[in-house]
Amino acid sequence: MSQTPGAVIQLDGVSKFFGGVVAVSDVSFTIGPGLTALLGPNGAGKSTVMRMLCGLAKPSRGTVRLLGRDPRGDPSVLRDIGLVPQQEAVPEVISGLSFVSLGARLSKVAQPDVAARRAIETVDLDPDDPRPLRAYSKGMRQRIKVAAALVHDPRVMVLDEPLEGLDPRQRRHMIDVFTSLAKDGRTVVVSSHVLDEVERFGSRVLVMAKGRLAAEGDFRLIRDLMDDRPHRLRIGSNDPRALAAGLVSVGAVVGVTIGAQSMVVDTVDVAAFRRSVTRVAKSAGVHLTEVVPLDDDLESVFRYLVGGR
């Protein structure tokens, strides 16, 4: 497999079978520096892909390269990986500082305790908390896992559902941490079900459904490419009926639902619609108050792609 220029992570024709069950089927993609969200419903194969990225699982077919190396065959690449695994479990009997410091030691960090303290503070926990990890709440465990993943300053961070169990304030803080790591040039791959939060990570997504890669790229561009699905917009005006009649007569819409002060229209060509709507409104003497796209957010794109609209 030739390395794509700029690719930090590269999967080529990767499949994973568990007995007769196909968990991942013929998935290929490349990921470069920055933040990429890996999305998909439960059972889509996200965690299996993430495990293969880190070398925890071997592909049944295809190849995985991380920084040009095989993460299963070349343990040196582990120095460059920070993983937050999906499972909640952490070693129960040791303190947060011991846990993170152990990771730093095993990763040969120069001053492991200093690095561990810094990482724990980064995730907004107290490095001097003496309690064993069994006493930590779910959110605290999640954050200590993030601290352990970033303590050795890896070039690639793989975060499997890192926002699970966090309250809204902690989520915002962790998103800031992840975006900051990405801005520093690291490659950050995040899977999450919390789509409105993922949207704040940025627009680069990989969408998986039923073990396959359903789409990759900027989710707004992905939405634009879905020309088999009409775009839906809310149009506010002082006379929705007159405006609707005008839009239908010029063929700018394929469906209209009229309300008291606004209407929802379906159109196959948003650009042409935007040109038409002002012209029609002007000629009908209608005052436009808003034109709001309703389905170019991540959640709508996600619903379309995984077939559950």
Binding site: I94, L102, L106, A148
Partner: protein, 236 residues
């Protein structure tokens, strides 16, 4: 490696496990007190050696080693925390060696101290019995710990399979099938006990050097296999 050993040892030594295993090994002290208090004349030494053979080497050493060594990686596999060790750039042999050190380091004191104390009490503080018991149980624990360390990583329900191994192979096949004794850790440990105690026990066919070497080689080879399996295993 020290950090790995310390983490695994702390994971292995739950309060419940330590108390239960100490109770198992501590039974030898009860037996020894019974022997010492009995009116067996000059046979207390032989009774003690028989008790060490029949209980310490047959039950205490393999069971304690099984519970602790199979938990070394088994617990981490079961609760999904192996990933935190596996995903560090540490040679796999160091992880296996750290786990083996933790297993031997936790099992040895739980087995050897009470059992050797039992040998001392039962034999009237006979130094031959004490040395023979300490040596035999130490070698047995090293062999079993390596074996059960590998078992704990490789298969689920290692405790059940390990108990089956102890009962069927060590307790039955090695006693009844000619040749199988050479592959039994218990038989080699019994040989050490008999030779050092300068007495006769049934089924102790190997030479003294072989008896020391085989269990230790078994333990080391099993630990090496564990390192190999760590490289190839899929981690949840």
């Amino acid at each position: 490696m020290k950090a790995v050993t310390a983490l695994i040892a702390r994971t292995q030594l739950t309060r419940g496990r330590v108390l239960t295993l100490l109770a198992v090994s501590g039974l030898s002290l009860l037996f020894a007190v019974g022997i010492a208090a009995g009116d067996a004349g000059g046979s207390k030494f032989l009774d003690t050696i028989s008790m060490i053979d029949g209980f310490a080497l047959t039950v205490a050493a393999p069971v304690v080693a099984l519970v602790l060594a199979s938990a070394a990686f088994g617990d981490l596999v079961d609760d999904g925390t192996l990933v935190y060790l596996w995903l560090r750039p540490v040679p796999r042999w160091q992880l296996a060696a750290g786990a083996a050190a933790a297993s031997v380091g936790t099992a040895l004191p739980i087995v050897v101290i009470p059992v050797t104390a039992a040998a001392a009490i039962g034999s009237g503080f006979d130094s031959t019995a004490i040395v023979a018991t300490a040596a035999a149980t130490t070698v047995a624990v090293i062999g079993y710990a390596g074996l059960f360390l590998a078992l704990g990583l490789k298969i689920r329900r290692a405790l059940i399979w390990g108990l089956a191994y102890i009962l069927i192979w060590e307790g039955f096949v090695s006693r009844g099938v000619a040749g199988a004794a050479k592959l039994s850790i218990q038989v080699h440990a019994r040989t050490i006990l008999a030779r050092l105690a300068e007495t006769e026990l049934p089924r102790n066919p190997s030479a003294e050097l072989t008896a020391f070497a085989v269990p230790i080689v078994v333990g080391v080879v099993a630990a090496a296999l564990t390192a190999r399996w760590l490289r190839t295993t899929e981690v949840a």
